[in-house]
């Protein structure tokens, strides 16, 4: 083409930064951009980074990561990446479909009394297509469509109760009234069963029809009961009759619920869905130019409550699970769940109603191995430069404040003989990121190795053997800031000082620390008493509300003797525990959890003395000390902190498209990227938007779900 490539500096190689690099260097762009990724430490991945232990090849994750079936942009990115990589036959993760496997089982635990919990495992049927497939509709998302889906869900749920043969229990007294109420309930439940093709088809046209039908049936049923009761039996007239009726219904329903957990769960979801439908209609979301954003000023649970969900429902496993999924606890305080209702609703609608293939997809190796190693390989082949061990310290504006003039960097370590750092190691034929830097390649490597130097953490991260000042026009033309949000306020002081939008954002967006631990065990979880399919389950007791069975990883790790089970646990970490003892706190939390709480999942793993530490693979010594061989992490540094979707804050996020500083854009799950939640899909969308901001491509209409209500 003859034109000089435009130099782009991308700072931060997490999902967002890598997606932006991938987009800007697509072969179709014929070298228009010359991209360099500056990444502190030795690996890409950020909050999605993972590493391999040098001895066992075991995978050590930043936290549990699952991909959802609605991650259209993230899967498209991965599919393109694997296609371009074109790995040879016999490669352990040759194709994207080797790397991600569908997972149809989702679990929540629910509290049924003081210290009593129940596991609920739900199966979500495979949906048509695969995430990342092309869409025939440019924008298939509509509020109307979602309402239809909601009502179909109600029907399906009610149907499921019926099909399992749960008839309402017989009334204790045999009065006509009790019988009538029983029949009302069963009639309501059977309404669902009696729904049919016609309804579904019409419902597809007009979302409310299914409920209209439900209502008509319900009114009919109610009226029938009134008719049966009326002749002569009630001297006090219809008002008192209705009082008695509703009292009896409540009694019957409580009976039903008390005797049947399944019915209660179904009821809670039905109640949630009806509150959603009602709320969406009443608040005018259907015709609001803001779509679901309209509701972001409310907390999700409060909003549901205000539209008629019962207190029991908003405390249900389903709703609590949505907070756990998004670590939605302000300051990590589990007593302060806070989640913007509009985004929660958008997330729930996309998660349940627009997934393709499976609701969840599980990676078949570490997220680093599955996502960031292939991305690195492809980008490197395309000519993207990677500057590892480069930490950005400051973003400096021009004198007229119109653009970014300089990027001040610290070099945390230098590679011997000025060579390029080669970051990947092969494990069982798979290119992987190590859990620590490859010290051998570094100057002073032996010393650093001895000290266990970890440039991602605390004071170690502050090491600087050199400083660089990257200058606009010379070292870069455009800059993409793709660090984790926690690092932004400190790095961008100058931007914040001059721009009200940046001020509003940094005053309102908040993050939370997270904690995670992993155990490898010499018994299967079935031997330990788990009786359900392999599961990801959330909604459980703190300090670790989420457990995922990661047995699929055994095959790709490299133990001398394979463990039989791998389990990941994850949760928020309260801000009261994020000080310098954070790592010790998390260890203590994990030990406490194993001793006290894990028996709920694995009864056989615990005896009268507590957790059976001898179960742990690779452990040394006796008792609790064996836990030290396992893996745990406190994710407390600013960039590692998870980005919250707090009510009243999302409107203040700055978009990558915002053009206040004319050679600069941002990427990350904290930006106004259309899907304002801390997840891989949001991060990838932001990366696409950043690319679009610099080049006009991709067209915004091609970022699936950006123009979502």
């Amino acid at each position: 083409m003859g034109t000089v490539p435009k130099k782009v500096a991308i700072i931060g190689g997490g999902c967002a930064g890598v997606a932006a690099a991938f987009e800007l260097t697509r072969p179709e762009r014929r070298g228009e951009f010359d991209v360099t990724v500056y990444q502190m430490g030795w690996r890409l991945g950020g909050k999605g980074a993972s590493g391999r232990d040098a001895e066992t090849g075991r995978i050590e994750e930043h936290g549990l990561h699952l991909w959802m079936g609605f991650y259209e942009n993230a899967f498209r990115f991965m599919r393109d990446c694997y296609a371009e990589l074109d790995r040879p036959e016999g490669h352990p993760l040759r194709d994207w479909s080797d790397a991600f496997k569908p997972d149809n089982h989702v679990g929540v635990t629910e509290k049924i009394g003081e210290n009593q919990w129940l596991n609920w495992s739900a199966y979500f049927p495979p949906a048509a297509g695969l995430p990342g497939d092309p869409l025939s509709d440019r924008n298939p998302f509509s509020v109307q469509g979602y309402l239809t889906q909601c009502l179909r869900l109600v029907r399906t749920l009610l149907l499921s109760v019926q099909d399992r043969g749960h008839e309402p229990p017989l009334a204790t007294d045999d009065s006509g009234l009790a019988k009538a109420v029983t029949s009302l309930i069963s009639s309501l439940l059977s309404t669902a069963r009696s729904d049919m093709t016609g309804t579904a088809m019409r419902a597809a046209r007009y979302g409310q029809l299914a409920v209209g039908a439900l209502v008509l049936e319900a009114i009919g049923a109610l009226q029938r009961i009134l008719d049966t009761l009326r002749p002569g039996t009630d001297p006090q007239g219809p008002a008192s009759l209705l009082d008695r009726l509703s009292a009896t219904i409540r009694y019957q329903f409580e009976l039903l619920i008390a005797s049947d957990d399944e019915v209660r769960r179904v009821w809670e979801i039905v109640d949630t869905v009806l509150a959603i439908v009602r709320g969406v209609l009443r608040e005018g979301v259907l015709f609001s130019p803001q779509g679901f954003d309209l509701l972001d000023k409310y907390d999700w649970r409060e909003w549901l409550l205000s539209h008629g969900a019962s207190p029991a429902t908003i405390d249900s496993a389903f709703i609590r699970g949505s907070y756990d999924l998004l670590f939605a606890f302000e300051d990590g305080d589990v007593a302060r769940p806070q989640l913007a209702a509009g985004q929660a609703l958008r997330g729930a609608m996309r998660m349940f109603f627009t997934y393709r293939g499976a609701l969840f997809w599980k990676m078949q190796a570490g997220m680093g191995d599955v996502v960031f190693a292939p991305a690195y390989e492809v980008l490197e082949k395309r000519g993207v430069k990677f500057e590892f061990f480069h930490r950005l310290d400051h973003v400096a504006l021009s004198a007229d404040k119109s653009h970014v003039a300089r990027l001040d960097m610290s070099v945390q370590a230098e590679v011997k003989r000025g060579a390029d750092y080669k970051p990947l190691v092969p494990i069982k034929g798979l290119p992987c990121w190590p859990s620590l830097p490859l010290y051998d390649q570094l100057k002073d490597g032996a010393k650093l190795k001895k000290a266990g130097w970890n440039p991602e953490h605390g004071a170690d991260g502050d090491r600087a053997v050199n400083r660089k000042k990257l200058k606009v026009g010379k070292d870069f033309d455009f800059a993409v800031l793709a660090v984790g949000y926690g690092a932004v306020p400190d790095l961008c002081k100058e931007l914040i000082a001059v721009d009200p939008a940046w001020q509003r954002m940094t005053q309102s967006v908040k993050t939370v620390a997270t904690q995670a631990f992993q155990v490898w065990m010499d018994d299967t979880v079935e031997d330990l008493g788990w009786g359900q399919p392999p599961i990801n389950i959330s909604g459980y007791v703190e300090p670790f509300d989420t457990w995922a069975d990661m047995r699929q990883l055994i095959a790709v790790e490299d133990w001398k003797t394979d463990p039989k089970a791998i389990a990941y646990f994850c949760s928020v970490l309260p801000d009261t525990m994020t000080g310098k003892d954070a790592h010790a706190h998390v260890r203590q939390n994990a030990v406490t959890f194993l001793n006290r709480d894990v028996a709920h999942f694995w009864p056989q793993a615990v005896d009268e003395k507590g957790f059976r530490w001898d179960l742990l693979s690779g452990g040394k010594g006796k008792g609790e000390a064996r836990f030290d061989s396992q893996f745990w992490t406190a994710n407390t540094s600013p960039t590692e902190r998870y980005v919250l979707s707090l009510p009243g804050t999302l409107e203040h996020r700055v978009s990558p498209l915002y053009n206040r500083f004319d050679n600069f854009t941002i990427a990350g799950d904290w930006t106004g990227c259309g899907h304002q939640a801390g997840c891989v899909e949001a991060a990838v969308m932001s990366g696409l938007l950043a690319a679009s901001a610099l080049s006009g491509a991709p067209n915004l209409g091609h970022i699936v779900g950006y123009d979502h209500p």
């Binding site: 298939p140 109307q144 309930i185 049919m196 209705l242 015709f287 606009v472």
Partner: protein, 248 residues
Amino acid sequence: MKKPANTADAPARLRRPEPERTEPNRGILGVFGQSSWGAPPQGSHPLGFDEDTGTPVEPTGHGFLDDSVQEASELVDAHIRQGLKESAGADESLLGRMAALYGSAQANDLTALATQFTRVYADMATQWIDIAGSIRDQLGNLRGATASAPAASTGIASPSMVLRASKPVETRVDMFRAAGSLSAQPLTSEDANQDLRITTVSVENGQLRITIPADQPAGTYHGLLVEKGAGPAGTVTVRVFETSEDGS
């Protein structure tokens, strides 16, 4: 894209192109989706469940519900037609009009039209949901305050009735509220195992006409009286008795 300025004190510098917009389009397009615009890419298919792989939908032959849905569908259709008439006075389909408008007309026109349309739709739908809610409260609001009662059915004029039957029957009509322009739905048995309905029910010139077939099984049958454009207004109940052995 602007060309970089090249002066002595400002070295050559590139600038971002101006973005076409900085926010997602969450409004009108979101309401209707965009299915009918532009050719779909190769190998593409719609999002979401196949009828086959998702929630299974099987006909069960419960006619009552079918009719209810039909009724509801007509109701909504009527509202939409009305809304359209008021907003545009044209008889083309809304989506067709929107497709034609899209790209050429002012975004404001589109918004106004769509808003009007959806308002009608939302009002309608809210009405349904509110009824659903009151039933739901009856059932499920375990810890809530006492639920509000549905409208009482006394003292409201009901249509006169013309009944034809060759066996003993008892009938009653209960109106929830005063209503004009009624239609009647077929009557369904209270016994869920009995699906032979009484379909010969109609409202003509304000008269409720019911014909009970000679072979109609004994039992109690119910159906709704629906006011056109406004929803259910009352119920019809018919009890059909066995003919006694001596034929009396």
